[in-house]
Symmetry: C2
Subunit: 219 residues, 2 copies
């Protein structure tokens, strides 16, 4: 039993995934999702959170209650690992861009790097180990569907965020540009639904300073 993690962030307006380069066979030199074995007395969520910490060193995230983590599914094809029977429970994690620079500081993270999700799909599956292409597809599908139905988008923006930052996340995941005026109205509606609130201060931009908003956790 292992857990594998699809750790996403939005950098430079594009969706990125954290991958590690494998040092040993099988698939030496190939890219793979970070992951590891579940310990004997560990819950699956616990194991995923521990791996996330080990791979990213992001202890600091606990101040926001930790990064968003959600299970994607179990993958158990008998031949998915040539060495032995391994069943993996995959989760996806969302890292806000403010914390991305801290990741290199982590322990196992020396060999970890961000790759563009768009590039992964163009290169097809060539450089990816095991059944990880399949896992990534499932994680992406889940990510996109959760985007419209849950509040996961807020896990990918800085804590007080501008409307543009939030829109950028939606565009990166959805893959298509969104009309800024219309998106603004969606955000305003979230405000009088009590889901968001205006925060103090302004964010400097290339032009007119932007209002800041904050996600209000449901009571």
């Amino acid at each position: 039993m292992t857990v594998d993690l699809a750790i996403f962030t939005v950098l430079d307006r594009l969706l990125h995934l954290l991958v590690v380069e494998r040092g040993e066979p099988p698939f030496a030199g190939a890219l793979a999702l970070p992951g590891g074995f579940v310990r004997p007395n560990e819950d699956l969520d616990e194991a995923a959170r521990r791996e996330l910490l080990e791979e990213t060193g992001l202890a600091a995230m606990t101040e926001r209650g930790g990064p968003h983590l959600a299970q994607v599914g179990a993958f158990g094809r008998p031949d998915r690992d040539p060495r032995m029977r391994v069943i993996s429970v995959a989760s996806f994690a969302l890292v806000p861009p403010e914390l991305v620079p801290q990741i290199r500081a982590g322990g196992d993270a020396a060999h970890a790097r961000w790759v563009l999700v768009r590039d992964l799909r163009e290169l097809s599956e060539s450089p990816l180990a095991f059944d990880h292409p399949e896992i990534i597809d499932a994680a992406l599908t889940r990510l996109r569907s959760d985007l419209d139905q849950t509040s996961i988008a807020f896990a990918l923006v800085p804590d007080p965020f501008t409307i543009q930052e939030l829109r950028t996340v939606h565009e990166a995941i959805g893959g298509a540009p969104i009309d800024p005026g219309n998106f603004r109205k969606r955000v305003l509606r979230m405000i009088d639904d009590g889901m968001l609130e205006l925060a103090r201060g302004k964010r400097q931009t290339a032009s007119k300073p932007a209002n800041l908003y904050r996600f209000v956790a449901p009571r």
Copy 2:
């Protein structure tokens, strides 16, 4: 590693779940989801489908390509089974009402029976074994969310079905009555989206005979 199954159907306009009564400790006498161990060379979906067959004897379902089966998630609390560490991958399955009468014919199914989902929730968790209340909750949540986004509703109606039969499924899962006129319009829209087609014949009802429709698999 085990698979557990939440097998649903709609009987008498209400959502039902197939449960077995446990014969041995732990939880002897309690109700539990059907399930079993994953075999060494079996994929998880394969194991789930095999268990479904063993528990229901519904070989006949293959004529419609088998019942709908989808993974819900993995459950791995270290103490979920007092005997040993067991991680279970839960799936839900949907059985159309036409096949329900055949289920008693199955092998392991002698001790299986349908219970009202509504009753399960009223009785809280008292009579359910292991963490099965949690699994059932997750399966229900998934069922409800898939209902609006996928075509799973068609797996719970007879093959040519009436609009009322389809509406009944939505009402049973959603738990609330739906305006018949409005629901009809939704169905008509599905028809000119090419998702449904009018089938020949009529279904006898307590009043005016109803048109029959058929689900058209996406090409």
